[in-house]
């Protein structure tokens, strides 16, 4: 599988899910369990991706400059700072820590 295959197959799958909602009867939405599972699925995947993106290194986990950066991001989100500012702030902190040689 190439990266192009992954991009095209995933794009088709994501569009098919969007389209499917317009084709099924709306009564499915009234049942609470499918809606709750779908919402929690989003939460679990985003939390897991946050964790792996912060800690993962080739085949293992490591505590590096990404950890203080994600802590800063959490504080800024809690203070309702806009997304794009937080993302730039986290990148800048990680870059600064590496420039000063405090953490890899």
């Amino acid at each position: 599988m190439t990266v192009w295959h992954a991009i095209l197959l995933a794009s088709i799958a994501v569009f098919a899910l969007k389209l499917a909602g317009y084709l099924v009867p709306p009564s499915l939405l009234e049942r609470p369990t499918p809606a709750r599972v779908a919402n929690l699925l989003t939460v679990a995947l985003l939390a897991a991706l946050t964790a792996t993106q912060t800690l993962e290194t080739a085949g293992g986990i490591v505590l590096d400059a990404r950890v203080p950066a994600i802590v800063l991001a959490a504080v800024l989100y809690a203070l309702r700072v806009p997304f794009i500012v937080v993302v730039i702030g986290a990148a800048a902190l990680a870059a600064l820590i590496r420039l000063l040689g405090w953490m890899p």
Partner: protein
């Protein structure tokens, strides 16, 4: 809420309010495309691949997930990348069900609406008190974000290409912060907070054990178990 408003004026007021909401949300969200484009290139995609994702997939969470898994495992992690992006896309199907009566009309209109059914267009439409306002809110938000997101993806991808060394500029930390930003507004009660904490721990523990991409998918099982049993949840009457 709106019962006291005179009906003759409330229609155009509601449309104006929907357009204003759509523009403010749409323009703000479009700016995230820069971070997506830069991170996609930093993850090993080329500029074209980043742009194709924004044109055809057009769902921020799924796009970030796909490039995040590719970044950790390369093309070999393709199946896990597809699975992560697809699972994150399930919520769009729920939004489509909610938007179906708002969009209405012939099949080709639903086909176009499907591509623009995302978190923001659904949120803006759902917040409008009248059906006409909902319709205007959905289409204007979808159109503004589709154009803006694709333009800023291209810009971000070109910038990311110029940057070169990803870690030196902290772009790996930016990716983590982006996921946290997508997660943050969903942590509204005990149940999602518990699921997020458990999923993060499970994924981190499994990283040294499983191939790239799979820890994220295993962590998603937490959502299915908690969602079906409804532990930590409110009792619904």
């Amino acid at each position: 809420m709106t019962e006291a408003a005179p009906p003759a004026r409330s229609s155009s007021d509601a449309t104006g309010a929907a357009v204003r909401a759509a523009l403010s949300v749409g323009i703000a969200v479009s700016a995230y495309g820069i971070s997506f484009g830069a991170l996609a290139v930093a993850s090993g995609l080329d500029v074209w691949q980043a742009c194709v994702l924004s044109l055809f997939m057009f769902s921020g969470g799924s796009q970030f997930a796909l490039v995040g898994v590719i970044a950790s495992g390369g093309a070999a992690a393709g199946p896990a990348a597809i699975a992560s992006a697809t699972l994150l896309g399930i919520r769009n199907g729920l939004y489509s069900m909610r938007m179906s009566p708002v969009v209405g009309g012939p099949w080709w209109r639903r086909l176009l609406a499907a591509q623009w059914t995302i978190d923001e267009s659904t949120a803006v439409a759902s917040a409008q008190p009248t059906r006409r306002g909902q319709r205007v809110g959905f289409w204007v938000t979808g159109a503004v974000i589709y154009v803006g997101w694709n333009l800023t993806t291209l810009l971000g991808a070109i910038l990311g290409d110029l940057v070169g060394d990803v870690r030196q500029y902290g772009l790996d930390a930016a990716a983590a912060a982006a996921f946290l930003g997508l997660l943050w507004p969903r942590l509204t009660s005990r149940q999602p907070v518990a699921v997020a904490a458990a999923a993060a721990v499970i994924a981190a523990v499994l990283v040294p054990v499983l191939p790239a991409g799979l820890p994220v998918l295993v962590a998603a099982v937490v959502a299915i178990v908690v969602g079906i049993t409804n532990v930590f949840g409110r009792r619904t009457a």
